[in-house]
């Protein structure tokens, strides 16, 4: 690897490693797996950096790689979280309260639903960036986010 390329990788790592780690942690729900993901993302970046066409920012591209890696890993796992559906109220047994808290509802979101909330509220990405990371249109992002919020709003105290 040339010195300039090495410098670029170092800069990218120092700038975006936290974002990648947090994003992969929000999807994988495990710190060790997230660290593995961070490593894999940069290995993937080094191997495929020539294919980067500059249509989006490096950050967006790295987060897209992170997303692909995480979902590939998640598909291999048997226990997927139960998606928030219409039967949620009937199937859920609250531990301490009769009313379901927002946190319980959030923990029951599917990976796709949770990552929308994460990317918007925690990582503060714009709709444009979210669309690029998720590989969908901006209108689709708007609709999906709206639906998730509508669902979560029911559990707001």
């Amino acid at each position: 690897m040339k010195r300039e390329e090495e410098k670029t990788v170092k800069e990218l790592f120092s700038s975006y490693s936290d974002d990648i780690l947090n994003y992969s942690m929000s999807l994988l729900k495990d710190y060790d797996d997230a660290k593995d993901a961070l490593q894999e993302v940069f290995i993937k970046y080094i191997n495929t950096k020539d294919s980067f066409r500059g249509e989006c920012s490096y950050k967006t591209w790295l987060l897209t790689i992170t997303r692909n890696y995480c979902f590939k890993k998640l598909n291999g796992k048997a226990n997927k979280p139960i998606p928030l559906d219409e039967n949620f109220l009937r199937t859920y047994e609250p531990k301490y309260e009769d009313k379901i808290s927002l946190n319980d509802a959030m923990s029951r979101l599917s990976h796709e639903e949770y990552e929308l909330i994460y990317l918007r509220e925690y990582a503060c990405h714009s709709y444009q960036e979210m669309a690029e990371i998720l590989g969908i249109s901006i209108d689709n992002v708007k609709v999906k986010l709206f639906r998730v919020r509508q669902q979560l709003r029911k559990y707001l105290k």
Binding site: M25, Y31, A34, N103, Y122, K142, F146, R153
Partner: protein, 168 residues
């Protein structure tokens, strides 16, 4: 009356197109339900952010599964080592046992096919005083002596070395 839930979602994210803003504010001034929706969405936004933040902090602070695995492995190995040592030192060695090429009688190794007396004679250091003379005087007497000694513990190893029928 038309409500503006979808537009409110865009508004709280700062993604509402410029032309729609005025219409939304005029509606908000009149519609109590939409004002409640806006308040809910702002609260939801704040709580969602807090949840994400707490979730990530919890995951970072949680002890890693690999560390727990190694910790458990260390304790399991320690217990196994203690048991192994206990069995090793508490168990008495076998009096007699045979291997493929050798026969071990007490602590004396005897090669197959060689009369026991000859072997015993070669290992005279293991004999108690008096035995050596006894062996040298008569093989038959020695064999009877050995048989008398081992009336209670006559093993497979003894059968290999002695022609039991001829002695009797």
């Amino acid at each position: 009356m038309k409500h503006y839930d979808y537009e409110l979602n865009l508004f709280i994210d700062g993604e509402l197109e410029e032309g729609n803003g005025e219409e939304l504010f005029l509606h908000l001034a009149e519609c109590n339900e939409c004002r409640n929706t806006l308040a809910d969405l702002l609260l939801l936004k704040e709580k969602s952010k807090m949840y994400c933040s707490e979730n990530i902090n919890q995951l970072k602070q949680k002890p890693s599964s690999s560390k727990s695995f190694y910790k458990f492995g260390f304790y399991a190995a320690s217990v196994a080592a203690v048991f192994l040592l206990f069995f090793l030192f508490s168990r008495n060695p076998k009096d007699t046992f045979t291997t493929q090429k050798q026969v071990r009688v007490d602590t004396v190794f005897v090669q197959k096919g060689i009369p026991v007396t000859q072997n015993q004679l070669t290992n005279t250091n293991s004999l108690t005083p008096g035995k050596k003379e006894l062996i040298q005087s008569s093989q038959q007497e020695y064999l009877r002596y050995v048989m008398n000694l081992r009336t209670e513990k006559f093993t497979e190893a003894d059968k290999l070395k002695f022609d039991y029928g001829s002695i009797q």
